[in-house]
Symmetry: C2
Subunit: 599 residues, 2 copies
């Protein structure tokens, strides 16, 4: 029983309005159009597009995959039409800056919209996601001339964008990039090299594809400080903006993957003949920093994929659990055969999925709201504060939401029993699709090393201290509330935050002296931060729900469910914090005890 | 880089000889041939067959799958030849009783051999595993006449066996079985009904397929007490043992599944015309009990699949991590680019896989040794003791080893980075194959309910108390050892066992009064029991390794690795026990707080 997708607008608006503070965000300079009413209207339209256009081709796209034939890649049936419609309706332009034809929506609102695309059709959504990343990198770092040529077409979606980092011998280690760029004497460069794992690297849904490529200039220093960033279009662009000759680049093959079958993952070969013509973005040797502009954005986006694919799996599992009548639930006094939703373990699984999704969504949207402040607040000090929170939470949202999505989509299969293993049911696709999210845009270990190194140890834990202080303020309110439910949630949050503080202390004390042990505990530290920050979001949700109920809000079923879900998270998920803290603070000597010979 | 399979004979023999006590097992009446030397020789031959015949067709079988054409199922290329060779070499007969042509090996030894088949080719191994289950059910419950007709051919492998339980409207709930059996007046019955998810339900690798089918007689009471078990052969058997007419049963289709593609999962339709001719096994209405004979065996076997597929994923990941040179590991003083095995998080992941596999393997083999005592010990009281341990541990081995295998095979993908998501690498297949193991032969929730209900609460926790006393004895030895490594492991084991005792106390106090809450904590209880029992095995392994080192055993790298792996388990895995105990003892009220409307 394959289910359709219905955007969880009520949940999304709850986070937008009550947790992440859309009202305040929409008062920031430049974001004034994004009132809560406008946001609700946008979500409404996006929900229709996601359900009506993107979701229906998700399973068929998975089954059919993409076709490669002599360098030409044909997406699955319906994808080109859906993409055309996506661009015509203006969805591609929505998150981009107004000066290039975008609508300049807050990241907060755009996060909710993008969650919908990813839930409805993760493989499809990767294409505009990559384009948007390329747009951001060009907008921030390229010359006005390059911006004028490329941005309008990319914002409209007539041209799509890609990110070309990985090479066969340089996976996560960009220091090993070997692609070369030689000045052609006319201001352009000749690019050569092979790039792998290029998402939507080739297709025929758009007129042109704008590849952003990392390569080395002849005089480049070794390592990551010698990498430059180039625009390398599939078709060259004439002075009048029309398309010229085909550039010297080709898609040599596409991969046969575990999931996201409808998203072509290309091997791109540049410059097999005379060299692909490319244009330097910004200054030489600064490509890595520029690429990080794209990547930080992409990391949050991949974290959002974790949220989105979990939500899709949850909807599928919930529908099945309501529909499938079987057996008499343990402890059920009716004596009747009932929907499996009423079996205790199925109900636990659904609650577990639901509460983790709500925590992840709130944390991801909240991070997007911090981005809006970091970009739009008039006061530089305030911008810096929010930017610090964004930097702290980006690896957490990326790593924790994606790791969690593997478990949530696996639980989605389990709810179905045997039917979950049958591909036609649809649950398995979400599990397969989710499995890439902990890998691309930096594996969980890379996120975790970024977190413990650049984001915590390097600054002596100051950003994390601010986060912990914010959490503590909420805890105090909860414990002072006189409400048993909120107090219990506050006590659980206190234990979680205590575990995080303990692990942080260990990390700060050992990062310099025992870097390998610190790194061996890094993934646990990332999960710990995610579980506790997510618990904070859930605690705030419980506060808000309690207040709204006290104010006489009529949506009592929804608000009581928010409270129940937060309580579940406090009782059943937050205790993970102590486990992760134990794993970190016991040091990882035993994790590193064996060398090659010992294995 | 797809890797071959090498049976971990040294690890297997360590468990056989030093943990599960093969020497003593081989002194039980009827098992005298299975000396440690003989067992080592058998493992050696099995390792060659697994690596040389079964492993090479694992990936190709996954890619090709099975073909259904008008009721005829053709397995993937090479499977029929491999099966013929498997039977000719006598492997199919090995675990069966000597009186029907088997070799009557101890379950302990046969466990190791079966781990090899499952690691090498899980889809293939399902076929003889199902046959063996059917052989056991027939041997224990059928008449001598039926035994004489069916067992010799099934033991040799000329005929294969299946288990037909599930129906489209009766998944895990066998009370809802609707297939019918009508007496034909000649002692046989006419069977009709549709069965789904029938593993190796149709194929052409064997001359005949012997279906064991659950169905209801006309006078059957409702529910599970009205189910009878029938032998329904694909081809009828003439009085002289030759094959007669095709029976009235057909494979209507096979499923398109997430994994185990080379194992045909059939929809079987019985009696569309005159009724399929079937023969009653044992007495009427006792089919469920007979089926449990098969199922308990199958459950241990599926638990072993969890061990085996994890081992295969580990070998794949380890080979990649040794081969793939990339980046400078954090905290590495060499300053060199090194194999990714030396990156702290990769090393942690490999250690995590290794230690969990060793704990699972030891627990599964130990359970098999208890089966040998339960079947062969001359003293009935001793047999009963061991049988109680088998019953306690069967759902744990099934549920915990399979749940763990999903995580371990997922980690196997993660070690590969982007290459893990590419199907040709091979890591993804293990992840897909593993995903069925928590579902078939009873989902994890069904195992967990069996554990907390029949195996713990119903008997007031007496079997579990014996297990905890055994664990406590080991703990005492460890703490009294005067060895820092062993003492640390002992302390961790004590904390784990304490958590299990605490959860057990909660369960016994609440099982009757709050059955739904108990059931909502059942899966956590199962994992808790697995983690602690596995920790006990690891602690014993550490004791043995320390003793052997003290005795001057020359295999110091191997034995020191055993110690290091046990220490990792104590530091990093056993702390999970406190998490599970917290989840259980906080009650599951919050897990059950939402009804249909609230979701």
């Amino acid at each position: 029983m394959m289910t359709s997708y219905t955007a969880p607008q009520r949940d999304m608006l709850f986070v937008l309005n009550h947790l992440a503070g859309l009202e305040a965000v929409s008062q920031l300079p430049g974001l004034e159009d994004a009132t809560p009413d406008m946001a609700a209207a946008i979500l409404d339209e996006a929900a229709k597009f996601a359900a009506g256009v993107l979701a229906p081709i998700n399973a068929s796209g998975d089954l059919q995959g993409c076709r490669w034939d002599n360098g030409v890649v044909t997406p699955a049936d319906g994808f080109a039409d859906a993409y055309a419609s996506f661009c015509e309706t203006g969805w591609n332009a929505m998150p981009a800056q107004p000066e290039f034809g975008g609508q300049g929506l807050p990241s907060l609102v755009s996060s909710a919209v993008q969650e919908m695309w990813k839930s409805a059709n993760m493989a499809f959504a990767l294409c505009p996601m990559l384009t948007l990343g390329a747009v951001n990198a060009i907008a921030e770092h390229a010359s006005d001339e390059l911006k004028a040529v490329y941005l309008p077409k990319m914002v409209s979606g007539e041209w799509t964008g890609t990110m070309n980092l990985t090479e066969p011998n340089a996976g996560s280690d960009l220091a090993a990039v070997r692609s070369r760029a030689v000045p052609a004497g006319d201001g352009s460069y000749r690019i050569s090299g092979t790039k792998i794992f290029i998402t939507w690297g080739e297709h025929d849904m758009a007129e042109n594809i704008v590849h952003l490529v990392l390569a080395r200039l002849p005089d480049a220093p070794e390592g990551v400080k010698g990498i430059s960033l180039f625009i390398v279009p599939k078709y060259l662009v004439n002075a009048d903006g029309s398309l010229g000759a085909r550039n010297d680049l080709v898609c040599a093959s596409i991969e046969h993957k575990l999931g996201i079958h409808a998203s072509p993952t290309a091997v791109m070969v540049f410059g097999e003949n005379d060299g692909a013509i490319g244009y330097l973005v910004g200054e030489p040797h600064k490509g890595l920093a520029y690429m990080f502009t794209m990547m930080n954005h992409a990391r949050l986006n991949v974290g959002m994929e974790g949220v989105a694919i979990s939500e899709r799996a949850f909807q599928q599992a919930l529908a099945y659990a309501k529909d499938r009548v079987q057996g008499k639930p343990m402890g059920d006094s009716s004596g009747q055969t009932r929907p499996i939703l009423y079996h205790p373990d199925v109900r636990r699984m659904l609650m577990d999925m639901k509460s983790r999704i709500e925590a992840m969504r709130a944390l991801a949207y909240q991070t997007a709201a911090h981005m809006d402040y970091a970009h739009h607040h008039p006061d530089e000090a305030v911008r810096r504060e929010h930017q610090a929170r964004v930097e702290l939470l980006t690896p957490v949202v990326k790593g924790w939401c994606t790791e969690t999505s593997i478990n949530v989509t696996s639980t989605g299969i389990q709810v179905h029993g045997g039917m979950g293993f049958i591909e036609e049911t649809g649950a398995a696709q979400h599990f397969r699709d989710a499995r890439i999210t902990t890998i691309y845009e930096g594996t969980t270990a890379i996120q975790a090393n970024d977190l413990i190194g650049r984001k915590v140890a390097r600054e002596g834990g100051s950003s994390l201290a601010v986060l912990l202080a914010d959490i503590d303020a909420t805890r105090e309110q909860l414990l002072a509330s006189g409400n048993a439910q909120l107090s219990a949630i506050g006590a659980a949050l206190a234990r979680g935050a205590g575990a995080l503080a303990e692990a942080r202390d260990w990390l700060l004390a050992h990062y310099a002296s025992q870097p390998a042990q610190a790194a061996a505990g890094a993934v646990a530290f990332l999960k710990l931060t995610g579980v506790v920050a997510g618990g904070w979001m859930m605690a705030r949700a419980a506060q808000v729900a309690t207040q709204l109920l006290a104010d006489g809000d009529s949506d009592t079923v929804f608000l009581n469910a928010k409270l129940a879900t937060a309580r579940y998270y406090a009782d059943q998920v937050l205790p993970e914090a102590a486990l992760y803290a134990a794993q970190i603070t016991q040091g990882a000597a035993s994790a590193l005890a064996l060398d090659e010979e010992g294995f």
